[in-house]
Symmetry: C2
Subunit: 458 residues, 2 copies
Amino acid sequence: MRKLFCLLISLSAFTQVQSQNSIEDSLFIRAIFDEALTNSKCYEVLEHLCTQIGPRLSGSQGAAKAVDFMSETSKKEGFDKTILQEVMVPHWERGNICEVKTANKETTFSACALGGSVGGEVKAKVIRVSHLEQLDSLGEANIRGKIVFFTRPMEPRHIHTFEAYGGCVDQRWAGPSKASKYGALGTLVRSMSLREDEFPHTGSMSYDTLFPKIPAFAISTAAATRLDKMLNEKPDLEIYMKGNCAMLPDTLSHNVVAETKGNENPNNFIIAGGHLDAWDNGQGAHDDGAGCVQSMEALRILKNLGYKPKNSLRAVMFMNEENGLRGGKKYAELAEKNLEQHIVAIESDRGGFTPRGFYIDTEDAKLISAIAKYRKLLEPYGLHDFKQGGGGADISPLKDKGTVCLGYIPDSQRYFDYHHASSDTFDAVNKRELELGAASIAAMIYLLDKYGLPKQQP
Amino acid sequence: MRKLFCLLISLSAFTQVQSQNSIEDSLFIRAIFDEALTNSKCYEVLEHLCTQIGPRLSGSQGAAKAVDFMSETSKKEGFDKTILQEVMVPHWERGNICEVKTANKETTFSACALGGSVGGEVKAKVIRVSHLEQLDSLGEANIRGKIVFFTRPMEPRHIHTFEAYGGCVDQRWAGPSKASKYGALGTLVRSMSLREDEFPHTGSMSYDTLFPKIPAFAISTAAATRLDKMLNEKPDLEIYMKGNCAMLPDTLSHNVVAETKGNENPNNFIIAGGHLDAWDNGQGAHDDGAGCVQSMEALRILKNLGYKPKNSLRAVMFMNEENGLRGGKKYAELAEKNLEQHIVAIESDRGGFTPRGFYIDTEDAKLISAIAKYRKLLEPYGLHDFKQGGGGADISPLKDKGTVCLGYIPDSQRYFDYHHASSDTFDAVNKRELELGAASIAAMIYLLDKYGLPKQQP
């Protein structure tokens, strides 16, 4: 009886502590969201980054200006440290010509070069391909001397639009070289977007060094639909494509890091990040100015609320996510070299939209369920999704070294309207949605810093 | 033992039926979303309504055209019935003048008349009021002969922006007459929006017949901030306001109703609705063209999937929600007169944004928890919020007669950027978000039609 009594007492004490913690946490998270919604300047920072600096592809003057600006912004915020990490990055330039027309020049298709494409001029017939495997079955006999047009659209039935993107992007990434393998002279790809409109969407492609590098352009979804229809009517239609993009020598650039020093374990790190480079055709507002300003804002919120973290906290603005991942690789390399223990990394690179939750990038069910316990505290702010999923490209090199990676999930419906297109501009970002995202990341940092992670399975 | 065995058998059978139902329901709801995301024309219908018809305030030519167009659309869809319900509606016109300036004409403030305001010309000093009670304490001595400027902004800390709106709208609705009671000559109100921008937001106001009708205008949030600052510097500043809006005689208009006949209980009705009228300064895209096309789309989806409803289903496009609610009242009156049993009414009037859930407009906890059980089936589509809350203005007269009312909840962050302003245009609506909302409503109609409602507490 006495044993049972003791057990009940201790259980009750435990419940009280838990419930006390839960009230404290609720109040602190409420304060985080209040701070974001009333005192944030992150929308203004994003406005400057987008409208005053604008395009900032790796190696460009814009990228250098963005590094300076975010570094100055970090210093003005008065974080404990502002660090610039040197990193050599690829330097590709789009040039000023990208034409896709019928050979008779009567019809023009809105087009842009894919990132990394060579320039060149091609006039040829077109062969349509919806899946890369078709190239193998069509073979050289059908492909040599032609332009390959990759036509597979994003599947609208996916509720999470990133799944629709994932189901298409092989055409853009690997299509050109696979077409070149069979003698194609150039490739066109239907833009990765769920909208039918006139914006061509760029994005990285990769050449296999075994095959000739051929020009690889995207055309808008509406243009792709038109071209498809024209080819139905006239399969022998000739298309003319011309571009003067080119790869230049690697250039020195930087990751920008803002740091708040930890009070108990200063050599343990929890980081939040986005990427500072952005495609050159838009302003890089959702992709990924939003993630950059949210990461720094998350640190600012915690600092302004007087939170003393156990671990060191960092906002990392990675360079070169779009066409090389050199910044992410460099960051992980330096972390290892400097013997910094990176416990958790959170990436925001899915746009500045209204919050939905966090992906947890692990196979460890125990870890997922431990982090998913925070759902109850975050549901009042619209975060319901706590599940297995990708963290993010920039932090993936940290994951390979044992860091637990989380991906911030905003609502995905509008993302591919803007992604890699000239429509990715500041005015497409809503201030409150951006701020709620920053607060969500701050709340997750707070919980993970305060309670740590459960031991992972070996 | 035998009893236990029987119980186990019957429990197991029950579980099998439940689980069989649950699989059927999952598959059917998946089919609903697939249909919406691949075959919907509701975005095109909304485009026509917004860009070809546009402003359609009750009594206007636009409203009459909208009635014709939606009625034609319903007939083209081939529903069992398309009904026009006659209803006399107020007819207020904004006129072509709305000026708010400093008396020296050096500074102009972006302004619009509130719906229902009289026209007029006023030049007077300004007294600022943040809460209506202040008018009582200031009294006639401080108010007579002045313009009252209502300054209370929407509270950004609310996560659900409708709470911020609810905390402000008394200034717009009741402020003018309460100011007139103490001798004010006119009123200005800070626009109900969470953005700081130059769009003035209109909306209904109501005159108390005991006091003189005075001109009542809204100024944009940015203009309100500027005026506030100017008054800090110069409390005696005189403001000039002028408008030529006017109330005209009541006009004949219509609710538009599309109907699919029920197979078991044709005189029982489940309806989904939005309102067809829209403020005259924008295109009424989110408010509430979205709700109209979603309601009709929900019926189309169920019809195209071959679903045979037990009860009759209706999409109702109500007239005159914005400044009178005559359509909603008429609908409920006719339902009673025609002895139609309205079981459930769902309203979509919170914008065409990404789905979040449904409000259930009842005090009956049992009913709320019964409907909230559908959460599990709808969470894969982003619907997590199933809770007590308002159904909607148009269906509130049905609620008074015992109908269970639900309000479709889309994400609320952007709504008040557009609400009642010239920014509420077609291009502010995302196709997928609109379609997902229609599918959410269709799924809820399906579940409520198939399983009915639990008995309500007396």
